[in-house]
Symmetry: C2
Subunit: 214 residues, 2 copies
């Protein structure tokens, strides 16, 4: 089924959540690029992406002010796009934009705002640009699209970790606890309100039951 | 929509994959129990569950030869069932079986085979029973049911880890590598053929690019 519109709800994307997607973009000399990138749903018709400066995607979006968000759950396609450049014949052209032939849905996004920031983490600082974009057109290839969000998995992983806290010595339990805290960070960054709340409840239960962990 | 049948494909479950579910069961004295448990899809009409001996679920299934598989993506419900006993009013009775009021779909399973085994891991050994069961009736409450499978998540996490291998010292990278190997175990246990293949490709790329990791 092909259905065109510009409301992100039709592809299952909810405001405030971040989805794992493949972004395709075009270079100034016509070269098609695809990279796995998290896309934040800002509203029903707006997204934001945080892109490292120096990347192909950054150069292409800065140059054209357009990018395509491809939604797929194909593990091999996601892997190929991460490990290296994919062949040119994986793409086709849709109204001047490079689109992956294989996806469950895609949408054309037009940049309406740019903001520079520096992302700091334990390994150093990296300059990034936040591109806010308007959804111009959504094309669905599947009746039901399931955009990939890590929130519910962060909850599931944490619950599995929680049940394992009963066994093992202090060091083992401390390591498990750190994994739950990592999942809490994931949920807070990408998840829904109830996924964040679930993680809070899990952490409270851990603190109540295992007072030695920190 | 309520649709009754006994083919697991109608709730999105595929042969060979393991799904995170909530199993509800009834004790000999009529007490309803719910626990988060992985359910292996053996065929379109058969599942298998590995249950620790000594658990309520084990006692109930051994006693009644019946259990209910509830499919839900509600993070708070999954959390409540893991952290403790849920209130009696979370259940209703369906043909003598306890079913969660809130779920996207559920199915009644009748045990047709039991096998005892001992699960060995780094923390000791635990006796378990593998119950193989026939799906007697599926009830769908949602048009589209998305059963929770950790396979694609294992791929996504591994790809995120892979991109982080470029930065950091040896110890950091070694820790990241161990996380990818953990995700490989998850994919092999619960995932689809292409999710397993994706993990293989990721590990091959790691070995090729970072020969110091082991």
């Amino acid at each position: 089924m092909i259905m065109k519109n510009n409301n992100l709800k039709t592809v299952g994307m909810e405001k405030g959540q971040l989805y794992e997607t493949i972004i395709s973009s075009l270079s100034a000399n016509g070269r098609k690029n695809a990279a796995p990138i998290g896309v934040l749903c800002k509203s029903e018709e707006e997204v934001a992406v945080y892109i490292y400066q120096g990347s192909h995607t950054h150069k292409n979006i800065s140059n054209s002010d357009y990018f395509v968000v491809n939604l797929t759950t194909n593990p091999l396609l996601l892997t190929e796009c991460t490990l290296g450049d994919i062949p040119a014949d994986y793409f086709y052209e849709f109204k001047g934009n490079p689109v992956l032939k294989e996806n469950d849905a895609f949408f054309i996004s037009r940049v309406i705002k740019k903001k520079e920031l520096v992302h700091e983490n334990e390994l150093g600082s990296s300059p990034m640009t936040v591109f806010t974009a308007k959804v111009e057109e959504i094309v669905k290839n599947e009746d039901v699209v399931r955009p990939l969000n890590r929130g519910i998995y962060a909850v599931i992983e944490s619950l599995i970790h929680f049940t394992r806290l009963e066994i093992g010595d202090f060091e083992t339990r401390q390591n498990i606890y750190l994994k739950i805290k990592e999942m809490d960070r994931v949920a807070r960054r990408v998840g829904s309100a109830s996924e964040k709340k679930a993680l809070q409840e899990i952490l409270e239960a851990v603190h109540e039951k295992y007072k030695d962990l920190e």
